[in-house]
């Protein structure tokens, strides 16, 4: 789930929770406020009536207040009643009691009222004054408040979701910029650009800086490796070059006896082998070190043709037939000479590990956006247990073959990885192998 969405959902939920809690509490608060209000009104009324009784007598007060001695009401919502009570017991004229009571007003019509009870002494007789006010209005008020707050809550949450979406998108923009520009579009650490991505958010600036620092470290490591490869290359190849030149001079010298020349020839073989291994290893290291550019186009059909042409004589010498059914495909961006080396090595292997009078089928097909190249030989095949090792450096497949240095396929693998070409092998022992390459159409 996207952070933006999570953020918005969290915000909406927390708002709903707060508003919901408020909505739940609101009726109780409202009730408190309303009762307080009613109570003070009832008290004022009580004081007024008691005053009238004191001044004009009970009858006068009853007349004026338009209420009965016994039970009387005008509206259902409120009533005043004065009832004589027994003179026994202690009645405190200073204490009044508030309570909620159900009063029977009309026939069968019961209503809840807020009632104040006030005992008073008149003509040596104790009376109780009851003033009541209907509270059904309060319930209605409570319901209104809850409904209103529920609707407004929903509205507020909706509006806030809308704003949160916009705001969080704005907030997260630097993050997506960092990921896109600094990580996704960086194919190799050496192509990394150290430009700050503007953000007022501390965390994103921190992330940006951390990525820059990491990349700096990787670039430094790459540069150290590059330097190392260059040094190794120089330190190994220079003495080899001296040896090679010296041996050539010995052979070229007419005074060198034949048996010495023969030895020298053998030494040339060894030097050739040594320089081949060193060059292959340096090539792998350089590819892994991103020293090769990938800025060319390759017409795969013509690359395959070139490799086959170059190897035709080797195939012919062992009477191996090569059949080619290749569609063209423009592969880019790539390093053409590396692509050539990769295909050359595969075809070379198909010849090398083939049997005499064998055959090689090369098929290249455009498949959707991809290009599938298959090189199928009728050679010795690879044992199942060995297949996972064939791309490992210096792994010999045939123990009796002294010259399989196992660098041809590691180079193929390295070049394929460098170009993100999928490579897979299918093989049956003594029947042959098929190497399958899938070139993906670049999305860049």
């Amino acid at each position: 789930m996207r952070l933006q969405l999570k953020f918005v959902i969290y915000n909406a939920l927390s708002k709903a929770l707060i508003i919901g809690a408020f909505a739940l509490l609101l009726p109780a608060i409202a009730e408190q406020v309303v009762y307080k209000h009613i109570d003070s009104r009832l008290e004022a009324r009580r004081d007024l009536i008691l005053k009238k009784i004191k001044l004009g007598g009970l009858d006068q007060a009853l007349l004026e207040e338009d209420c009965s001695f016994d039970d009387y009401n005008i509206f259902k919502e409120e009533f005043i009643s004065i009832q004589p009570i027994s003179n026994d017991g202690a009645h405190n004229p200073d204490s009044s009691v508030f309570s909620n009571e159900i009063w029977n007003i009309d026939e069968g019509n019961q209503q809840e009222h807020r009632v104040i009870r006030q005992p008073f002494l008149y003509d040596n007789q104790w009376y109780e004054l009851n003033i009541g006010e209907g509270v059904s209005a309060i319930e209605q008020l409570k319901r209104t408040i809850v409904t209103f707050s529920l609707y407004s809550m929903a509205l507020i949450v909706l509006i806030s979701v809308f704003f949160d979406l916009g705001f969080s998108r704005l907030l997260l923009r630097p993050f997506y910029l960092i990921v896109d520009k600094k990580l996704r579009r960086t194919n190799s650490p050496m192509q990394f650009h150290f430009h700050k991505i503007k953000s007022t958010t501390y965390e994103f600036a921190y992330l940006d800086e951390s990525i820059d620092n990491l990349m700096k470290k990787i670039q430094d490591a790459f540069n150290i490796e590059r330097e190392f490869i260059s040094n190794v290359s120089h330190e190994l190849l220079t003495p080899l070059s001296i040896l090679k030149s010296r041996l050539e001079n010995i052979v070229a010298d007419p005074s060198t006896p034949e048996h010495v020349s023969l030895k020298v020839m053998e030494s040339q073989k060894t030097i050739h082998r040594l320089s081949r291994i060193i060059r292959a290893l340096l090539m792998i290291s350089r590819i892994e070190n991103e020293q090769y550019l990938k800025d060319e186009k390759a017409e795969l059909k013509s690359v395959i043709n070139e490799a086959v042409d170059e190897l035709e004589d080797r195939a012919q010498s062992r009477n191996i037939s090569i059949s080619q059914q290749t569609e063209n495909f423009q592969y880019q961006p790539c390093n053409r000479s590396l692509i050539y080396t990769m295909i050359f090595n595969l075809v070379n292997n198909a010849i090398k590990y083939n049997k005499d009078n064998g055959s090689i089928d090369i098929s290249g097909k455009v498949s959707g956006n991809d290009y599938v190249l298959e090189i199928k030989d009728t050679g010795c095949g690879i044992d199942k247990s060995q297949i996972e090792h064939i791309f490992t450096r210096f792994k010999k497949l045939n123990k009796d073959d002294d010259n399989s240095f196992g660098l041809g396929l590691p180079i193929v693998k390295t070049i394929a990885e460098f170009h993100r070409i999928d490579i897979s092998v299918q093989s049956t022992l003594n029947e042959g192998s098929t190497f399958r390459l899938v070139f993906r159409k670049s999305t860049v």
Binding site: H234, Q268, L293, R314
Partner: protein, 227 residues
């Protein structure tokens, strides 16, 4: 022909000098970039063999400075550094060729001859091998006007032997010239013999080729004294 060998590795410089001197070149040696530039200024060379990894400076800078001073020598870069873009840079800066170490002296000599032919702008770039005429530009061989049908590899083989005439080229030297690094020395060292055999057969069909000599177990030679 005069050659300046700019190479800080003295043993290598010495071996190159021995080889080229035998070929009739006059050789000077410079072990640093500064001395190289000084020599270039004082003398006019036909060739400058330039190592890139010099102790005092980058060989490419020597090339740049020499070119800026109007040096007309042909530059061949010799390098063990092998930066991927060294070759491109070197050629862009006006170098005529590029050999990465370890290179073969026979190869160096052949490249130098190729540069000479190119520089002198020979319209008909041909090599006369007894009765055979090799057309380098069209990559054909004729005998008395009749085309000798050679494959690409056979032509390369004959051309290389012709450029290194009167000297035995070992099978390894021939293999390296024709197939470079891609050859397994044991797997294919007899393979060159097949090509030589085919080449001989095709040439013999036109004229006797007693000058095409075999040094048993070692290699082959075009024995053409006086040419």
């Amino acid at each position: 022909m005069t050659v300046l060998i700019v190479e800080d590795e003295r043993s290598l410089s010495h071996e190159i000098e021995i080889f080229l001197t035998k070929e009739g070149y006059h050789c000077d040696a410079a072990f640093s970039g500064a001395i190289a530039l000084q020599r270039i200024e004082e003398n006019s060379y036909d060739f400058v063999l330039l190592d890139l990894g010099l102790p005092d400076t980058d060989g490419l800078l020597v090339l740049k400075e020499a070119k800026a001073k109007g040096c007309e020598a042909a530059f061949i870069i010799l390098t063990a550094r092998g930066h991927v873009d060294d070759k491109v840079k070197g050629l862009e800066m006006g170098a005529d060729d590029y050999l990465s170490k370890p290179f073969s002296l026979a190869e160096l000599q052949a490249r130098m001859q190729a540069i000479l032919r190119r520089k002198h702008g020979l319209k008909s770039n041909t090599l006369q091998i007894k009765d055979f005429v090799m057309d380098i530009n069209n990559r054909t061989v004729h005998h008395n006007g009749n085309l000798v049908p050679l494959t690409k590899k056979e032509f390369d083989l004959m051309h290389y032997l012709a450029l290194n005439r009167n000297r035995v080229l070992t099978r390894m030297q021939l293999i390296e010239h024709i197939w470079g690094d891609t050859m397994d020395e044991e797997y294919d060292s007899n393979f060159i013999d097949v090509h030589v055999k085919n080449l001989r057969k095709k040439l013999t069909a036109f004229a006797p080729i007693d000058w095409f000599e075999t040094e048993r177990g070692i290699g082959y030679r075009f024995n053409l004294p006086g040419t």
